[in-house]
């Protein structure tokens, strides 16, 4: 209530001031007037001022009215506020009460938590104290126990006691000893006694362990091995144990070497002697790791396996070196690779001589890949996740620098040289032994060559080395292009022997004493090689997609490497495609063009300027198109079964193109009347229908031009052209249309000239 009154008051005050302001201004205006000697003659300026004042007054009045009009509204508001006011007081007192309650609760809570904190400190002290007491008691216990159990030879118990002692906080223990004034002597005594016992136990365990190793008593070895970590001798234990395991592996590998050296050359494993030896070695090591890994993890904790593996790897290096250098020597790898590299290798006839050796090399490398994979898996399983990258990097470092790794890389290199040689020689041989089996569209080389290439790549893929597979794929591209495509290209370049001799051919034939059967052979060879190109392209595509799925790629980089190399196979496809195009061109040039020309030329002898009578006899006999179709059918059926579908379709397409252009050529030399045009269109339709029926693809497009020529010549009147000109997608230029129309003897030349197209 009060506040609203104050506001009201302020408001009215302001009004008053405003009014005073105005009046004072008016006063000052008047006072200035007084100075003027002629009061009545107000100057222009004064009048202006006056009107301004009046305007201001009006404005103020308006404002005043506006403000006063709000008075009622404000009053209702004030009334509303007055009603609510008593409630506010209640709320205020409630809030005050609440505040008191809360502050009381908070002090209470603070007090409580303070006490709890104190309690907690007390409790921890108590437990610490308890711990110390326990330690002290245990110390005593350990001290007594150690001696008795050591005396009785119960080393497990003794070690457990020492372990308990070592687990105590040594500093704290000494402090405790100081704190316990009256008994400090006995505590210190116990400590020193235990220290001594620890050292003594270490010595005993070490010697016992060594004895056990010397006696090959694996149970005792394991027994003492388990005790080392209890004495804090983790590294020592692992080291000793590794030595023991290395010894075992060594003995075993020596045994294997000995049996191997006694294996006779006729033994059925003789060919894979060295890969067998490596397999034994890797298996021995893997088994050793596999069986002892739980022991190490249980008693030594995770992350200790790497040390063991590294020690074993050293032995693996030594043993594998022995095997591999023996292999290198006895298989004559050095000589073989260098003679192949220098190109002086004398093949003993059969490239298959390499098969066994290649198989052995690939197996050896594949075992090595598996072994590495095993090591990586074991080590990563043994390590906590956050430490894995560093531990695995340490393993990789070890592997990278190890002798085995380097030797295996050399082995792979030798393998690749031999594999390349094998592939090249085998493919050459397959091409040299190329035969055409009856009933087959292509020749034997295509299956043989791809069999060899696939075999080589599969074998390379078995090595487990992506670089190896990629290299063999690259080499395969080279061999396919250089050997096979070159051979096919050479055959196709010679052209298709038709057997329809021209003079020059006949002449050369007499000289070369070619028998007709030779021509037949050359024909089928040409066709087979043409088909080879199409089938070869298909095979390459299948090979590439098959390999993309088949070859295992452990990493994304490996995958993209593989794909990069596989894309190289597309260049083989391109080379095949080029040979195929060449072959088709040659075939068409030999078998289609020269034969088609005389058949179509016979059209020239048949007048197409026909009377009704001539037309009906022409219709009945179909002198031209019937024999043409029969002739073309001769060609088509000649190749239908012998060519692969793609080649056959290409050939028919070529045939259609040739028919189209040659027909046009002869038509342009003739003249036609209406009936002649009608006959022509029927002939063209028959021809198109026939060609279209020869393959599954549509050939109509190829003959579109000829069809349009026939349509033009079959028009009843010349002005029909304006009707059909807009309806078709014309293959003929306007000039050509006019030229065709001029062939109609009954169309006036001037009208043709006048046509606007």
């Amino acid at each position: 209530m009060e506040s609203s009154q104050i506001a009201d008051f302020n408001f009215s005050n302001q009004l008053k001031f405003n009014i005073q302001d105005l009046t004072s201004q008016e006063d000052s205006g008047e006072s200035s007037d007084e100075f003027s000697p002629e009061n009545e003659f107000l100057t222009e300026e004064h009048r202006k001022l006056y009107s301004q004042l009046t305007q201001k007054e009006n404005e103020v009045e308006n404002e005043l009215e506006k403000l006063l009009s709000r008075h009622c509204h404000l009053e209702t508001k004030i009334r509303g506020i007055t009603k609510v006011l008593p409630n506010l007081e209640i709320i205020h007192s409630d809030a005050k009460q609440l505040y008191e309650m809360i502050s009381f609760a908070s002090t209470l809570a603070e007090n409580v938590s303070h006490k709890v904190r104190k309690l907690d400190i007390a409790r921890s002290r108590v437990s610490e104290c308890q711990q110390r007491v326990h330690d002290l008691l245990d110390l005593q216990l350990c001290c007594d126990g150690v001696q008795t159990s050591m005396n009785s030879g119960d080393f497990e118990k003794a070690a457990a006691h020492i372990h308990r002692y070592l687990a105590m906080d040594q500093n704290l223990l000494e402090k405790t000893a100081d704190d316990v004034h009256q008994d400090s002597k006995s505590v210190n005594n116990s400590i020193s006694l235990l220290k001594e016992a620890a050292v003594k136990l270490q010595e005993i365990l070490t010697s016992k362990f060594n004895d056990a190793v010397a006696k090959q008593d694996s149970n005792s070895v394991e027994r003492f091995f388990k005790l080392f970590p209890l004495l804090g001798m983790h590294d020592y234990g692992i080291e000793k144990f590794s030595d023991y395991l290395v010894d075992k592996v060594e003995t075993s590998s020596r045994k294997h070497m000995k049996t191997a050296s006694e294996t006779s050359l006729t033994d059925k494993r003789a060919a894979v002697l060295y890969s067998d030896l490596l397999t034994h070695l890797f298996e021995d090591i893997a088994r050793t790791i596999e069986t002892h890994q739980p022991l190490v993890e249980t008693y030594y904790g995770p992350g200790r396996l790497l040390k063991l593996v590294c020690r074993l790897q050293d032995e693996c290096d030594r043993a594998s070196q022995a095997v591999l250098s023996e292999m290198w020597r006895s298989r004559g790898l050095e000589k073989l690779t260098s003679s192949i590299k220098s190109g002086t290798h004398k093949s003993r006839g059969d490239p298959k001589e390499f098969d066994q050796l290649l198989g052995e090399l690939a197996t050896a490398h594949s075992r090595y890949s598996l072994y590495l994979h095993f090591l990586r898996r074991k080590i990563s399983m043994d390590t906590e996740e956050e430490k894995q990258p560093t531990v695995l990097a340490a393993l990789e470092e070890k592997l990278k620098s190890c002798v085995l790794c380097r030797t295996m890389e050399e082995l792979l290199s030798a393998y690749l040289i031999l594999e390349h040689h094998y592939m090249e020689e085998s493919v050459r041989k397959a091409i040299a032994m190329d035969t055409i089996e009856s009933g087959s569209q292509c020749s034997s080389m295509i299956d043989d060559v791809f069999f060899i290439v696939k075999k080589s790549i599969r074998r390379a893929s078995s090595t487990g080395s992506i670089d190896g597979v990629c290299a063999v794929i690259n080499n395969a591209c080279g061999v396919l292009e250089n050997e096979m495509c070159t051979k096919l290209n050479a055959t196709l370049k010679q052209g298709y022997p038709t057997g329809y001799l021209d003079l020059a051919q006949a002449y050369s034939m007499i000289h070369a004493r070619l028998q007709p059967s030779d021509t037949e052979q050359a024909k089928s060879l040409f066709i087979a090689h043409l088909n080879n190109t199409e089938i070869g392209s298909e095979y390459v595509t299948t090979l590439a997609s098959g390999l993309a799925q088949e070859v295992q790629c452990p990493t994304q980089t490996d995958r993209s490497k593989l794909e990069g190399c596989l894309s190289g196979l597309s260049s083989v496809c391109a080379a095949m495609g080029m040979a195929q195009d060449l072959g088709l061109q040659q075939l068409a040039n030999a078998a289609i063009k020269p034969r088609l020309a005389p058949w179509i030329d016979s059209f020239l002898a048949l007048s197409h300027n026909l009377t009704e009578e001539e037309f009906s006899s022409y219709e009945a006999n179909e002198p031209f198109v019937r024999s043409l179709i029969a002739n073309i059918d001769g060609i088509v059926s000649e190749f239908r079964s012998s060519l692969t579908s793609g080649n056959f379709e290409s050939l028919v397409t070529f045939l259609a193109d040739e028919v189209n252009s040659q027909m046009e050529r002869v038509i342009m030399k003739m003249e036609f009347n209406r009936l002649g045009g009608l006959a022509l269109e029927r002939e063209v339709r028959a021809l198109t229908g026939y060609l279209n029926s020869t393959t599954s693809m549509s050939i109509r497009e190829r003959l579109a031009r000829l069809g349009q020529v026939a349509k033009l010549l079959n028009m009843e009147k010349i002005n029909e052209i304006s009707d059909i000109w807009t309806r078709f997608n014309w293959r003929l230029a306007p000039g050509e249309v006019k030229k065709v129309l001029k062939l109609r003897v009954d169309f006036p030349k001037e009208e043709i000239m006048k046509l606007k197209l």
Binding site: E409, L416, D467, V472, T541, A544, S571, A574, M578
Partner: protein, 201 residues
């Protein structure tokens, strides 16, 4: 389908430790990894560069310099469009080996392959082979010549861009023996599953 008009294979060769991997890393990832270990077999990287508003994809094969990987690296020569032969300007033996490398290139690579001689590590103070010696050698053997520093990123981008430009011009004038536009159209026509070597033509 990826958006590029040309694809070229670039193969780096040269003695071990001359900085082939560093050159590739610098170009493809902008990194200079110190203490780079020896490459095992071959490494494979891809980078697309834009030249005259055309996207050119470079397939870069970084080969191991060590002798025992030779039979792997040889297999990459044949299909290469460009060969970068690298030596270390602060190490005479790497320069002395160049004739041997050229012999290999003659034997295994296509005769039309683009050959570039690169003297790397020009950031080093202990230069042993003066620029003009390298230049002379390159000129005598009909090669392009460039000096680079993978460490300081000197001339590295330039090297690859130059190669891409040159190969693109060759491809446009249809001089490339393989993978050029005509052939790849053939590939597109004949096969469906084999990775196309270039597209958009």
């Amino acid at each position: 389908m990826e958006d590029y008009k040309f694809l070229f294979k670039v193969v780096l060769v040269g003695n071990a430790g001359v900085g082939k991997t560093c050159l590739v890393r610098r170009f493809t990832q902008g990194l200079f990894p110190p203490g780079q270990g020896a490459t095992i077999g071959v490494d494979f990287m891809i980078k697309t560069v834009e030249i005259e508003n055309e996207k050119v994809k470079l397939q870069i094969w970084d080969t191991a310099g060590q002798e025992r990987f030779r039979s792997i690296t040889h297999s990459y020569y044949r299909s290469a469009h460009a060969l970068i032969l690298v030596y270390d300007i602060s190490c005479q033996p790497t320069f002395d080996c160049l004739p041997d490398w050229l012999k290999e290139i003659e034997e295994y690579a296509s005769s039309k392959v683009l050959r570039v001689l690169v003297g790397n590590k020009i950031d080093r103070d202990d230069r042993e082979i003066p620029t003009h010696v390298g230049e002379d050698f390159a000129q005598r053997h009909n090669m392009y010549y460039l000096e680079t520093s993978a460490k300081e990123s000197d001339n590295v981008e330039n090297l690859f861009v130059k190669i891409a430009t040159e190969l693109m011009e060759q491809a446009k004038s249809k001089e490339l023996p393989r993978y050029d536009e005509i052939n790849s159209q053939n590939i597109n026509r004949r096969t469906t599953s084999i990775d196309v070597t270039c597209c958009g033509n």
